[in-house]
């Protein structure tokens, strides 16, 4: 890491004055709470409000039973799907912003960032009102259906049966759509900053030398913007994996994700040690993902 020229031993007083408060805060209000959760994950319920830290591994054993493991794997699959959809939608948008006229670029970026700054709960709620059985999404589908029905009568076929509103909310589809809606800006912004740093003359050279746009994209843009794309993927994947609000509000009983299971242990089920174990498994999963990312990045660096 760059920076850091003064040895703390030579500047003990300024160092203490500067470093004391943030380090103290980090220790007391982050590391200590995390350590308590970690200890609790090896504990068991000893009474209604008493937890004995007995060093048992039962919580972890229970966490890897199929019931919970399947929810874990499902959360991972949902998060991966959401990330993929965000990448597919977001990449052209990031390209468009990168190559937009300079006077438009900041405004397009702002257009992506404003929803990112808007309250998550409000955005989820807005999407929910749209997707309810009386919402506009259903109205739009209804109009399409009526149109198709009219077309069928027009060409002399039987009209379609009357439209019945489809249940768009409270299922897996709603969770994926909601998560895409919420996380799209997370994907576009790092993609943009990666594409923006790209040497545009390389793209021009590739096009001049006769490669098509798609080939240029695959052979020049994607490899060069690789680390940025990977960063965008991680920035989307990690919060999507730990998402609580979207599956809670938009999902049905079968679309609960791991965060909802954790929450249940602390509220309704009141099994704190088990919840603590699940939390730490989620944190370990994050660490593995981040380790994989930095491994890929280092490998990429060696190749260059």
């Amino acid at each position: 890491m760059a920076g850091g020229t003064q040895d703390w031993r030579l500047y003990k007083r300024p160092f203490a004055a500067i470093a004391g408060a943030p380090l103290f805060w980090l220790l007391l209000f982050f590391l200590v709470p995390m350590a308590i959760v970690w200890l609790y994950s090896f504990g068991e319920n000893a009474g209604p409000a008493d937890i004995a830290i007995s060093g048992t591994l039962d919580n972890y054993k229970r966490a890897i039973e199929w019931l919970y493991l399947s929810i874990f794997l499902k959360s991972l699959a949902v998060a991966a799907l959401v990330t993929l959809i965000c990448l597919i939608i977001g990449f052209p948008v990031a390209m468009a912003i990168t190559f937009a006229a300079p006077k438009w670029r900041p405004w397009l970026l702002l257009g992506i960032m404003l929803p990112f700054w808007t309250n998550l709960l409000i955005r989820t709620y807005a999407l929910m009102t749209l997707m309810g059985t009386n919402g506009y999404a259903n109205k739009g589908l209804n109009a399409l259906w009526d149109g198709a029905s009219w077309l069928r009568t027009f060409v002399g076929m039987q009209p379609l049966e009357a439209w019945t509103p489809v249940q768009l909310l409270y299922n897996n589809f709603a969770v994926v759509l909601g998560l895409v809606y919420v996380h799209l800006p997370f994907m576009v912004l790092p993609l943009y900053s990666a594409l923006d740093r790209l040497d545009k003359s390389l793209i021009e050279a590739s096009l001049d030398l006769g490669a098509g746009h798609l080939r240029t994209l695959m052979k020049i843009v994607v490899p060069l913007a690789g680390p940025g794309i990977l960063a965008g993927v991680m920035i989307t994947l990690i919060p999507a994996l730990g998402a609580y609000l979207t599956p809670d509000l938009m999902g049905g009983t079968e679309s609960q994700m791991i965060a909802n299971v954790i929450e249940r242990q602390f509220k309704r089920a009141n099994d704190w040690p088990f919840g603590a174990a699940l939390s730490f498994l989620l944190i370990y999963a994050m660490f593995i993902l981040i380790a994989l990312q930095s491994m890929r990045r280092d490998k990429g660096r060696e190749a260059h």
């Binding site: 890491m1 760059a2 920076g3 850091g4 020229t5 040895d7 160092f15 500067i18 470093a19 408060a21 943030p22 380090l23 805060w25 980090l26 209000f29 982050f30 590391l31 709470p33 995390m34 308590i36 939608i89 977001g90 052209p92 948008v93 390209m95 468009a96 190559f99 670029r105 900041p106 970026l109 702002l110 257009g111 992506i112 960032m113 700054w117 808007t118 309250n119 709960l121 409000i122 709620y125 807005a126 999407l127 009102t129 749209l130 309810g132 009386n134 506009y136 799209l184 021009e204 609580y244 609000l245 509000l249 602390f266 704190w272 919840g275 939390s279 989620l282 944190i283 994050m286 981040i290």
Partner: protein, 280 residues
């Protein structure tokens, strides 16, 4: 057609391609349509959300007269304000520490500092729930001290963001300026106040806006740290959405969206659109 086509599209002007414009337009529509519809229907004179029955402000009136909603909003703004001030101080100190000093376990400290950003919100929320229960943090304090637990939690996840933004700003600092000030007889504190602090200012503004928004936005961590008497706006909206969807929620949400836009406008005014765009 030739009337509209002023210059031919250059190979790299992807944004001038029709399908690309359509794609961006569709994405923006996807991002904004739900919010716009929510805002428009907050003025709708109907309990059911979907058919336009005429303009009314009665749901704003209702929201304003809903004491618990107003209290939640005041709580949220108070927490966001306090969390921003503390995060700025802690974040700036952390940034200067990492930028300036060599000390043992620096890599570990830096990594730990970024953990509150990486650790899933739900895990952080759980950690604070257990922590405050374990140390038996008093819950019956008078306002605004009853918000202290939530504020502490918010500071913990906000200040690493401030540290990150300020640190990247410090990278562009010319250390010779500092040396010059010291040569001319400025004390350690004077150098900090008159040389380093002005240089950090854009980073501090960006960090302040980021903390304020993050704090105002947070639901999950607050949900775990708040008690029955310490409801914040997102927690209140959550329970309203959960149990009964009323147009009041639309009105209250619209107010918050407008607040977000105003904050963004302030940021624009202070920094210009380019700087904002680049700070993210």
């Amino acid at each position: 057609m030739s009337l509209f086509k002023r210059t031919p599209v250059a190979p790299l002007e992807y944004t001038r391609k029709t399908w690309m414009r359509g794609w961006v337009g569709a994405t923006m529509f996807f991002l904004y349509a739900p919010l716009l519809i929510l805002m428009i229907f907050s003025f709708n004179d109907s309990k059911r959300n979907v058919v336009w029955k005429g303009f009314t402000l009665k749901y704003y009136e209702k929201a304003m007269n809903n004491d618990s909603l107003v209290e939640a909003m005041v709580n949220s703004l108070t927490i966001a304000g306090l969390a921003t001030v503390f995060s700025l101080v802690l974040g700036a100190l952390a940034a200067v520490m990492l930028w300036r000093f060599r000390f043992p376990f620096k890599g570990a400290v830096e990594g730990t500092m970024s953990l509150p950003i990486i650790v899933p919100e739900i895990c952080l929320g759980v950690a604070f729930l257990i922590f405050f229960a374990k140390i038996e943090w008093p819950t019956d304090l008078p306002w605004p001290l009853n918000l202290s637990a939530i504020t502490i939690a918010h500071i913990t996840f906000c200040f690493p963001f401030v540290a990150m933004v300020v640190r990247s700003r410090l990278e562009s600092f010319n250390k010779e300026e500092e040396e010059a000030a010291k040569d001319l007889g400025a004390s350690e504190w004077q150098t900090f106040r008159d040389i380093l602090l002005p240089h950090m200012k854009p980073g501090l503004i960006a960090g302040a806006l980021l903390s304020f928004t993050l704090s105002l936005d947070d639901f999950v961590i607050t949900f775990f740290t708040s008690g029955p008497d310490t409801i914040t706006f997102p927690v209140k909206v959550y329970s309203m959405v959960r149990f009964s969807v009323t147009p009041e929620v639309n009105a209250a949400s619209t107010i918050l969206i407008i607040l977000t836009i105003v904050l963004t406008a302030v940021a624009l005014k202070l920094q210009g659109v380019k700087a904002i765009a680049e700070s993210h």
